[in-house]
Amino acid sequence: MIFKIIYRNLLHKPLNALLSLFLLMLSVAIISLLLVAGTQINSKLDKDLADVDMVVGAKGSPLQLVLSALYHIDAPTGNISKKEADKIAANPLVETAIPLSYGDSYKGYRIVGTIPAYKDLYGGKLAKGSFFAKPFEVVLGAQVAQRTGLKIGDLFHGNHGEEEKGEEHEEFDYKVVGLLEKSGMVIDQLILTPTESVWDIHEEEEETSSIAGTMMPMVRKAKPSDDHTDLDHLDHNITTIETKEAQDRQITALLLKFKSPMAIMTLPRIINAETNMQAAVPTLEINRLVNMLGIGITALQSIAFAIMLIAGLSVFIALYNRLKERKYEHALMRSMGSSRSLIFWLLLSEGILLSFLGFTLGFALCRGGLVLLNGVSGKDFHFYFDYAPVAEEGWLFAITLIIGILAAVIPAVKAYRLNIAQTLSDG
């Protein structure tokens, strides 16, 4: 009966309740979305950092270099000479150096030429098969295997560039020899192969196409097929490969781990000043990125909290305005035996119920938003949001309830103090 009184009262003025509910829902949904997205993106950025101290690549934007070489969400800045890179790797301060060569893809998933040590950065373990041993053997990240359906023993062709419609390298078959366990990190969305595979494909092409200088010319997405003509694959001139091999083999980036943190102070500066490559420190670049995003997130959160305050105000006004017409029914209920505190709780519960419903709807709306985000951007970034609640949403729930309680407490106290005899004599 009491619950009936509470919800019937809310339904009695449906537009008031709807306005309050809508405002609460909207603010909760926005804050929730920011919390979930922020938490998951941050943890993703953090995990994929994988303790890499420095990334070396072609000159350009350091953030772009980090995003492309560590997170595989941006195009590379260009290529660097393997010989130059080897010199840096030989520095005594360097503990591990891992070369990456990329530029090709399969169904939107990057094919990365590297050495087996790369998987250890992410603690990657084989789920099935073996690790690659010779060129054109590949190991698939868990997400790649799941979404492409490729199995061990399958053959496929790489596409030039990052897009599915990039030109196919038809003369080379990649062979799947292993599948990695799901790690929740960036290697889930990569196809790993020995660096030599990438060299073989592109050196051959370089010989036959007239473009010189870049091994993977299509690093920016512009005009993917301009780099090659249809003649590319008709005619091979294998004899010249041998001679080129030693002198200017190239890689896209080099991931480095140092033996001592001291190296971070010196090596990047030396590389940036004295070579035609650039060195970027991932933690610095990602901090910069997070700070930039942080300003936007804080602004949006402030707006959402303002909406929530307005929602609280709307609950307050709705309850307070009706208090005058409801004082007779409160006096009546008192005359029928209800205590002061029951009336108090009745009004408070209306605020609590509204904020509870507002939170629930907002929470649902946020999940709807995530589904939409995953549909729109998941494919581009190979990143899918998880729908599980994050810890901060517990706080958000508490804050929403407190707002509802605060909004209802003044009307509730007024109703608690109601003078029944006076009210009934007036009416």
Partner: protein, 209 residues
């Protein structure tokens, strides 16, 4: 069922009222008559425990209500007293039926389905049960509040000007239903009014000056 002793009430403004003793038994009806401003409604509120007397005592069902705590008084009122007010107040968001049942719910006393059926039938409000109170006429509203005051079988029904906003026809109907039903349910009834039309119906009268 109810008797009072040396009741006085002092308004915050300073005006003090003292009342003659009242004594009503189960099934009896007392009409308290007086011109406006003589403290009729105050007396009714004292009897119903909505106000506390400055001096004297109100004893209902062998319980001196003046000494009960606020919370106990609320509960006692719910269980032993039913009210009919001049203007029928309702919980506007509940249906007529839920409004009638509310008194039983708040008093914590079970009602009998048979009582509900016979009451609503005798009061002629069976067809109104599903409606909202605001859609009822004043005569209908007053009949609904009688059902609400009686259903949970209180010992005492206090009616404050129950007929003064009704026309002659409805007055006769409401008054006879009140008298009849309190008799049938064995309830003591006290009506406070300045309505001359009731004088002829109820012999036992107390005049306030």
């Amino acid at each position: 069922m109810i008797h009072t002793k040396d009741l006085t009430y002092q308004y915050a403004g300073g005006k003090a009222l003292s009342y003659p003793d009242v004594d009503v038994l189960r099934g009896e009806t007392l009409l308290i008559i007086g011109h406006s401003g003589c403290g009729k409604t105050t007396l009714l509120h004292l009897l119903g425990g909505l106000l506390r007397p400055t001096n004297g005592q109100v004893v209902i069902h062998n319980q001196n209500t003046s000494i009960l705590s606020d919370k106990k008084l609320d509960t006692f009122r719910g269980q032993h007293i039913g009210f009919v007010f001049q203007k029928a107040h309702f919980v506007q968001s509940l249906t007529v039926k839920d409004n009638i049942l509310l008194a039983s719910y708040l008093s914590g006393k079970q009602y009998r389905q048979n009582d509900l059926n016979s009451l609503t039938e005798k009061l002629g409000i069976t067809t109104l049960l599903g409606k909202m109170p605001s859609s009822l006429s004043q005569g209908e509203q007053q009949r609904v509040s009688i059902a609400r005051a009686i259903l949970h079988q209180p010992d005492l029904v206090l009616a404050d000007e129950p007929t003064s906003s009704l026309d002659d026809e409805n007055t006769a109907k409401v008054a006879s239903l009140l008298l009849n039903l309190t008799m049938v349910f064995g309830v003591a009834l006290i009506i406070v009014t300045h309505d001359e039309r009731l004088k002829t119906l109820i012999p036992q009268q107390l005049h306030l000056s």
